[in-house]
């Protein structure tokens, strides 16, 4: 559990999604896609402070493969959308958005993913594959 406190909240989700992707098909049938815009298992009562980890470090990201980083990217993107949705909803009622520093953490982790992938693409000896990878990385 110490591991979960250190790493970003999305680490656990990524690990879960990689290992149990086969069995997750049955479990996700009843999941409401609207719920992905809201935070999982966070109750209204304010007793316990919300635990969230820190952002991903570049050194940790370099250990991952391309596909892992791809999946992690989308996990982080959903997290960022969820946080921004929460912030927008609270601000529309003039309430305070607690822990706003989570959004830059997610954003910087996504930036580091792209940085790590670009580093790998530069070191590739084949120039065509380099260009290809760069195009894939920076395309939007």
């Amino acid at each position: 559990m110490l591991v979960s406190r250190i790493f970003g909240r999305t680490l656990l989700a990524a690990v879960r999604s990689e290992t149990s992707s086969a069995t997750a098909a049955a479990a996700s049938v009843t999941r409401n896609p609207l719920q992905e815009f809201f935070e999982v298992d966070r109750s209204i009562d304010d007793d316990k402070p919300v635990v969230y980890g820190r952002s991903w470090k570049a050194s940790e990201l370099r250990l991952k493969s391309w596909d892992d980083l791809n999946k992690l990217w989308y996990v982080l993107l959903k997290e960022k959308n969820m946080l921004m949705t929460q912030r927008q909803m609270l601000h529309s009622q003039n309430l305070r958005f607690p822990n706003p520093e989570r959004i830059p953490k997610v954003r910087k982790s996504m930036c580091r993913i792209k940085q790590v992938l670009t580093e790998r693409a530069i070191e590739d000896p084949d120039p065509r594959r380099t260009a290809e990878m760069k195009r894939m990385i920076n395309a939007l």
Binding site: L34, R42, N70, A139
Partner: protein
């Protein structure tokens, strides 16, 4: 690899999507989101289908400018955004127990409650407009008989109607706030109409401000010539003016505090004063 000319494959989609609060929690057929202005409908549809798993029927978009505030020479602008309305093929529902929804609902209800008056009036508790109407009709009936000639009674009653005849609960009970002032003419209005009809004047404008003490209208009074004065319309002694000869305006039968005060001072000289003023 990924270099198809017809359809680009995007491996790292980066679309910020903020969901707006849905209108209801069950049977959601259409959801609203905010994105960056450079997102296209097709892209939004693809992202929602592939990443989130919505079954999207239609996406309609519009570009909106962020709100701008100008302070002095400085312009503070919120970023422009694109609103997208996404219709779903099958209705969804969401439980309000997820995190920020309950708080927002509570806040909305609190805001709705705060729009009522912040001054607590006498006799205010849980009221319904039908109760008030019933009270007004019963008051009308009791006042019709026996109280016409006693002006003092009417004055006292006007002071006491605000409390409904009860003991004043608050030190500010005798104050007229806009809330109480607006309620009064409903009660007085019906009485005035009947009196006026008896006097033969049915054409006075039935403005809601007639019974108010505080609302000021500038009226030209017939006996005063062309001097516009700030008068306050009072509802008492209306019937005493029936039959005056020098009436030029439809509101001449109304008593302003100017005329009514003078009457109070010289109680016996009413007719002489008016005739005298008519000659000025």
């Amino acid at each position: 690899m990924g270099s198809r000319l017809g359809r680009r494959v995007i491996s790292f989609a980066n679309l910020p999507i903020k969901l707006l609060m849905p209108s209801s929690f069950n049977n959601i057929n259409e959801i609203a989101l905010k994105t960056i202005p450079s997102a296209s409908k097709i892209e939004i549809k693809r992202v929602l289908e592939s990443l989130y798993g919505f079954d999207v029927e239609k996406v309609s978009t519009l570009n909106m400018e962020g709100k701008k505030k100008k302070r002095g020479g400085l312009l503070i602008a919120k970023p422009d955004y694109k609103k997208a309305y996404v219709t779903l093929r099958s209705p969804l529902s969401i439980s309000p127990e997820l995190y920020p929804i309950r708080i927002i609902e509570e806040e909305k209800q609190r805001m709705n409650k705060q729009t009522k008056s912040s001054v607590v009036e006498d006799g205010e508790g849980k009221r319904h407009w039908l109760d008030e109407k019933a009270r007004a009709t019963t008051e009308k009936k009791t006042e019709r008989f026996g109280n016409r000639d006693h002006r003092d009674n009417r004055d006292n009653r006007r002071g006491g109607v605000g409390g409904g005849g009860e003991v004043a609960k608050f030190p500010w009970s005798s104050m007229r706030t806009p809330a109480t002032a607006e309620k009064k003419p409903e009660i007085f209005g019906k009485r005035d109409d009947r009196h006026r009809d008896r006097c033969g004047r049915g054409d006075v404008a039935k403005s809601p401000a007639r019974g108010l003490e505080r609302v000021k209208m500038s009226l030209v009074l017939a006996p005063h010539g062309l001097k516009p004065q700030q008068v306050i319309c009072t509802s008492d002694r209306m019937r005493s003016s029936g039959g005056s000869g020098d009436v030029k305006f439809p509101w001449s039968s109304m008593r302003s505090p100017v005329t009514s005060e003078k009457k109070a001072e010289r109680f016996g000289n009413r007719d002489r004063d008016r005739r005298g003023r008519g000659g000025e």
